[in-house]
């Protein structure tokens, strides 16, 4: 660790991992409800579990990004963080707000929660992923603003690198597009349209800039490849991200009440969305091939390559499957969408957090050359358990989606099965999905265990 203020990243990483454990547990619970509808009902209805599941995901990724930034920025700027104290305060404010919100979801019926938090003053609740009470949303804005201030001041006062500028661009984009969460209209279609400005323009535009910058940083550190070279790749990746990803938002506008030209524009633009992810694979493997140093932290490099590959599979391949309008006509809002969502969020965003954590955490714990071989071996096992588990559950959801489409969507009115009948027939596949989900959780526990493996080298 070059700068002592990088230490503020540590609690962010730890808390992100704890939230990930919670996220997976809620996911597993939901997967049981998919099979046994009475499970935990009426104490925890499905929508509550789902709200917690996806909100934990969003918040854990924000914690992961923030921790990563606080670690990365001082090193890139070659100076201490502008205000480590502010970073610590921000952490606790975000923790308290996050925990209170989740407790609210779990213990207060949602309709009560809307009253309790005076949603009527400025109604923003009850929309997928944006279920947070308005007051929490305002809290998120304040947290993100103080974080941006801290990071921006550090960059302004220090060395400016391509990596840090692109990271900042992504973070400002994240903050800007979140503001659309405060938009509301009496017209549901308008609501839906702007809702995608948060959701799509986060995960398929601004977050990809963050992802690219974080990946580039870890690759710079672990491979020692010339920055000119790495920067060039990074620019190409994010250029393709914006060119394909912005108009690519159109693939969400096919069947929700937007004009018909989006069928063409959305299909064509989003067909190019796998390109930046494919470039990321080339980027990662190219840098590893041309590396100038052999870092002892091999597992971090494994995570980096894994992020590129699984991100491409989840976002690129599984996204492309249903991104063309004529295909989406049948696949829209089926389990295939869920399959894509799971693997893309995991591959691109959860795995980049693992990458940075695996690189930075040993250093923060006083092990500049990474964890010892024993610990890395355990972590490698956890890597494969989680990756195979996620791919397995994605394949199961894909099979479920195809069955659903065949039974419920493709036949005509006279022959199509109803949603509930089709779902009952898919039940065995949902069992397979749950088992792979358990595998992911075991993988995460193995990952936690790797932190406590004692190695001769780490002791010395």
């Amino acid at each position: 660790m070059k700068y002592s203020s990088q230490m503020v990243a540590k609690p962010y990483f730890i808390f992100a991992l704890i939230l990930l454990a919670g996220e997976i547990l809620f996911g597993l619970t939901m997967s049981v409800q998919y099979i046994y509808g009475d499970f935990l009902f009426p104490e925890l209805p499905f929508n509550v579990l789902r709200m917690v599941h996806v909100n934990l995901l969003i918040v854990l990724l924000l914690f992961g990004f923030m921790g990563s930034t606080y670690y990365l920025i001082p090193e890139e700027a070659e100076r201490e963080l502008w205000s480590p104290l502010l970073a610590k305060i921000t952490f606790w404010v975000f923790v308290v707000a996050g925990v209170l919100t989740i407790l609210g979801y779990l213990f207060v019926p949602y309709a009560e929660l809307t009253k309790l938090t005076m949603n009527d003053l400025w109604p923003t609740m009850g929309r997928e992923f944006l279920e947070q009470p308005t007051i929490t949303k305002i809290g998120i804005v304040l947290v993100v603003l103080s974080y941006l201030l801290n990071v921006t001041m550090t960059v302004i006062k220090g060395r400016k690198t391509t990596v840090s500028i692109i990271l900042l661009t992504g973070l400002f984009g994240l903050a800007f597009f979140f503001l659309f969460a405060f938009y509301f209209s009496d017209n549901m279609i308008m609501d839906k349209f702007y809702w995608w400005f948060v959701v799509h323009l986060w995960v398929e535009a601004t977050w990809e800039l963050i992802l690219g910058a974080l990946l580039a940083f870890v690759l710079v550190k672990l491979t020692g490849v010339d920055r000119e070279h790495i920067d060039k790749w990074l620019y190409l990746i994010i250029a393709m991200t914006l060119i394909a990803g912005l108009a690519g938002t159109g693939h969400h506008f096919f069947y929700m009440g937007a004009p018909g030209y989006w069928l063409w524009i959305g299909s064509i633009a989003s067909a190019a969305e796998p390109i930046p992810f494919f470039l990321m694979i080339l980027f990662a493997y190219n840098m590893v091939k041309n590396r100038r140093i052999q870092d002892d932290n091999k597992i971090a490099l494994t995570w980096a390559k894994g992020t590129a590959v699984v991100g491409f599979l989840g976002a690129g391949v599984w996204g492309f499957m249903h991104t063309l309008a004529p295909v989406d006509y049948y696949t829209h809002g089926t389990q295939l969408t869920a399959a894509h969502g799971h693997l893309s969020f995991f591959g691109a965003y959860v795995m980049i957090c693992f990458t940075v954590i695996s690189y930075a955490m040993p250093i923060l714990r006083g092990r500049p050359h990474g964890n010892g071989p024993k610990s890395q071996k355990v972590e490698l096992i956890s890597f494969w358990l989680m990756v195979i588990g996620m791919i397995g559950l994605t394949l199961a959801l894909t099979v479920a989606g195809v069955m659903q489409i065949e039974m419920q969507r493709m036949p005509d009115n006279a022959h199509a099965l109803s949603f509930m009948v089709a779902q009952a027939k898919i039940a065995p596949v949902y069992i397979v999905r749950s088992l792979f989900g358990v595998m992911v959780f075991v993988g995460l526990l193995t990952y936690f265990y790797s932190f406590f493996v004692k190695d001769a080298r780490t002791v010395s």
């Binding site: 499905f46 809307t114 549901m188 308008m190 108009a247 938002t249 009440g257 004009p259 419920q408």
Partner: protein, 148 residues
Amino acid sequence: MTERITKDMARNIYFGGGLFAILVFVGLTFDTVHRIPELSHADKITKSVVAGKKIWEDNDCVGCHTLLGEGAYYAPELGNAFKRLGGGNKEAFRSFMQGWMAAQPLSTPNRRKMPQFHLTPTQVNNLADFLIWTSKVNNQDWPPNIQG
């Protein structure tokens, strides 16, 4: 291939391509926002429809159902519920909704459960009116069949 591209060229592609993409997207956004009122029959958004939308949101219906294909995939699509469950008849749909909402949760063992939301008859009518409005939105004739 990439050897021939310099960092400066890559940066120019990023700035040029990015700016172009933003301009196209902003332009299309203006046009879409301009056209949505007509496509969604905004003139048919009555007070009852607005109240129904609010009930939809306040009870997190989208946490289980999809509406025009967006939401959770645990429960049926409701964008065309009016056509599927009400046969396109307003009174029939309203009375179906009154019975259906009052009957929740159904006692069938291990069927996926919908909670009892304790809505008043007026609120149920609002919700029905909201779903009637939604079913008429011009959304490129999706879904493919009545099952949604």
